[in-house]
């Protein structure tokens, strides 16, 4: 079992992000999980506990997206640098699609920071993602939770769901003949 890098027609960077609200009830912390695929195979991922207390699942998702954007920016610069230097492509990369399952979060990041009663305590710095989106670096898209690959980094889903998601991240390939 491992990561299988396929010969694909297009090498595209795609991100998935999810947050697990109150994964640590003792400290009031939530979990960030993200995953990036390049050519349909995972290249970067992380499951990490957030360092600040969040007050709602929306807040936690914003933090997770913030973390994901940081990784995304780095990965984009890395890829762009390689491709330009090797003459594989020139000019700007297309916006990286990041899949997110929280609809409120998506619309919030489209509009940017607006002070409302529910969001008045969220630091505007977490709307860094909004700026990136405006620049055309990333593009946040809605995805259903059951198809969100980052789901396995924030919660322990039932085994059927887990197996389904894990089989999309990892591939089980028989290396030794005669073995199952």
């Amino acid at each position: 079992m491992g990561l299988f890098y396929l010969k694909v027609s297009k090498l595209e960077l795609i991100g998935y992000v999810d947050a697990g609200y109150l994964s640590d009830p003792h400290h009031g912390r939530s979990q960030t999980g993200y995953l990036f695929t390049s050519g349909e195979t995972t290249i970067s991922w992380r499951s990490v506990k957030q360092t600040v207390t969040t007050t709602s699942s929306n807040h936690a998702e914003l933090l997770a997206l913030h973390e994901t954007s940081r990784e995304c920016v780095w990965l984009r610069s890395l890829i762009q640098h390689k491709q330009n230097n090797c003459g594989l492509s020139s000019g700007r990369m297309d916006a990286t699609i990041i899949y997110e399952d929280n609809t409120t979060c998506i619309s919030q990041l489209k509009e940017g920071y607006i002070k409302r009663d529910r969001t008045k305590h969220i630091s505007p710095k977490f709307f860094f993602t909004h700026d990136l989106q405006k620049n055309g670096d990333i593009n946040i898209q809605q995805i259903r939770s059951c198809g969100n690959l980052a789901d396995v980094f924030t919660k322990s889903p039932p085994s059927k769901v887990f197996e389904k998601l894990a089989s999309r991240i990892l591939r089980d390939i028989c290396l030794h003949e005669g073995e199952k």
Binding site: G2, F4, Y5, L11, S44, W45, S156, I169
Partner: protein, 462 residues
């Protein structure tokens, strides 16, 4: 001394002892150290941070003794050490050989820790390697070890590592040395090569006097995986080279003197004084020195840049060169060099490196950074089967029955959460439970090829 300003109500109950009457403070004889007999050695000498070594202090004493022909150095008594009692101690997986213990409260469970554990697991052999030339002599493979030692001395000479033997300048403390012996194994775990290496005691180097910068760049795991996806996509060639004695190429940026290794003769003209007054000057960075990794990187990067390779601060260990439609990418992981290139570029890139450094061509990359890389028809598979087998064996799980157990779910009810904080009176794990090591070993796996376990590992690591 009565502290009269403390209100009587709050004052602790205590008896004042007038100065001069203290029974214990003025005693000059040796007395019991917190209940231990006089002269007893501390079982667990105090180390500065985190890890403690059993061998460290011992070795120091040995080297001191070696050089104590003239001055009689007695072992300094450890008087100012307070015995520490850790209830959070844990021994490392290779405790028998390295004697390292950790305090669970002090250890920072991060990627570096995970990597070190993984290294321990990977290098964990059933039979131990000899620790000194004497042990080599006693082993049945002495001829092979002897060849290895000679080969090492030859390459040290070839690289002009050693300068002249000189009388140690005043104020200079020559650093110690040690022979290290290893049997290199291939991906199937068979002994492929006997290797001997003369290393310097880097731990006796002092910061800012003997070394400045020690950081050396390595390829990031994510970068490496991206490169593999690029290879699969573009159908590139993936080649691996190994630099023979890489560290010995780096020139030193500060003056370093080493104790004279056995077998080196004193210059005859000035045979005054004893052997201990002389030391050997190092021209090139020897293995074990703090800065040698960096010096090697500097040397290599200087050469590649001169040859027209480009690199960028985004990933300093990746060098790229392009000519028309052809290109080559060189990824450096200390002395492992991976070359990714279009078919035409191959001979050029390899020749360019071979011209300057002595290299071993390992062919297609199959085994790198404990990752196994399989070149299959449909693409490239990266996995860690050999590592997983080793980890299972190390933690005595190789005969267990595999079961699919979902991760225990945390409960929002603080009282019933299986991962709740430690309650008073709850029993702690003993030092023989290798919990930290197990987490480290799993983290390395979760960080490299198994994203599916990273959430579970993250939960249990807290």
């Amino acid at each position: 001394m009565t502290k009269s300003y403390i209100p009587v109500v709050n004052a602790p109950i205590k008896m004042d002892v007038p100065i001069g009457q203290s029974k214990f403070a003025n005693k000059s004889e040796p007395r019991l150290k917190r209940g231990r007999p006089v002269g007893s050695k501390d079982k667990n000498p105090r180390a500065r941070k985190g890890a403690k070594t059993k061998d460290g202090p011992k070795e120091n004493i040995e080297t001191l003794k070696e050089s104590s022909d003239i001055i009689d150095i007695s072992v300094p008594e450890e008087t100012d050490q307070v015995p520490e009692i850790h209830e959070n101690k844990e021994i490392s997986i290779n405790y028998v050989t390295n004697g390292i213990q950790w305090n669970r409260l002090e250890i920072n469970v991060d990627d570096i820790f995970a990597y070190n554990i993984a290294l321990n697991v990977i290098n964990d052999n059933e039979d131990q390697e000899p620790k000194s030339i004497k042990e080599c002599r006693q082993s049945e493979n002495w001829p092979k070890w002897k060849d290895a030692i000679e080969a090492e001395l030859n390459s040290l000479n070839k690289r002009k590592v050693f300068g002249p033997v000189v009388r140690t300048p005043k104020g200079v403390k020559p650093i110690g040395y040690k022979w290290v012996f290893v049997r290199k194994r291939n991906e199937n775990g068979e002994v492929a090569r006997y290797k001997a290496r003369l290393v310097a005691h880097g731990f006796s180097q002092r910061p800012r006097i003997d070394f400045d910068e020690t950081y050396s760049h390595v390829v990031d795991a994510a970068t490496f995986r991206y490169l593999i996806s690029l290879i699969a996509h573009e159908g590139l060639n993936f080649h691996m080279l190994d630099v023979v004695t890489a560290h010995l190429y780096g020139s030193l940026d500060s003056d370093i003197y080493m104790k004279l290794p056995k077998g080196f003769n004193l210059p005859e003209a000035n045979s005054l004084g004893s052997r201990e007054d002389y030391s050997i000057k190092l021209y090139k960075s020897l293995y074990g020195l703090k800065q040698s990794g960096r010096m090697w990187y500097n040397r290599l990067s200087e050469y590649l840049l001169r040859e027209g390779y480009k690199n960028d601060s985004i990933c300093p260990c990746i060098f790229m060169k392009r000519s028309g439609n052809e290109f080559a990418i060189i990824a450096i992981y200390v002395d492992d060099i991976n070359i990714i290139r279009t078919p035409e570029e191959l001979p050029k890139a390899i020749d360019c490196l071979k011209k300057e450094f002595e290299m071993k061509d390992l062919g297609k990359t199959k085994f790198c950074l404990a990752l196994q890389i399989e070149h299959l028809n449909g693409g490239i598979l990266v996995h860690q089967e050999a590592y997983i087998t080793k980890v299972l064996k190390r933690f005595y799980m190789e005969k267990s029955h595999p079961l699919s157990t979902p991760m225990v779910v945390r409960s929002l009810d603080v009282e019933n959460d299986p991962f709740r904080l430690r309650e008073e009176g709850e029993e702690l794990l003993g030092p023989e439970v290798l919990y930290l090591s197990a987490i480290g070993a799993l983290m390395y796996l979760a960080n490299n090829t198994r994203p599916d376990i990273s959430f579970s590992v993250n939960i249990i690591k807290i």
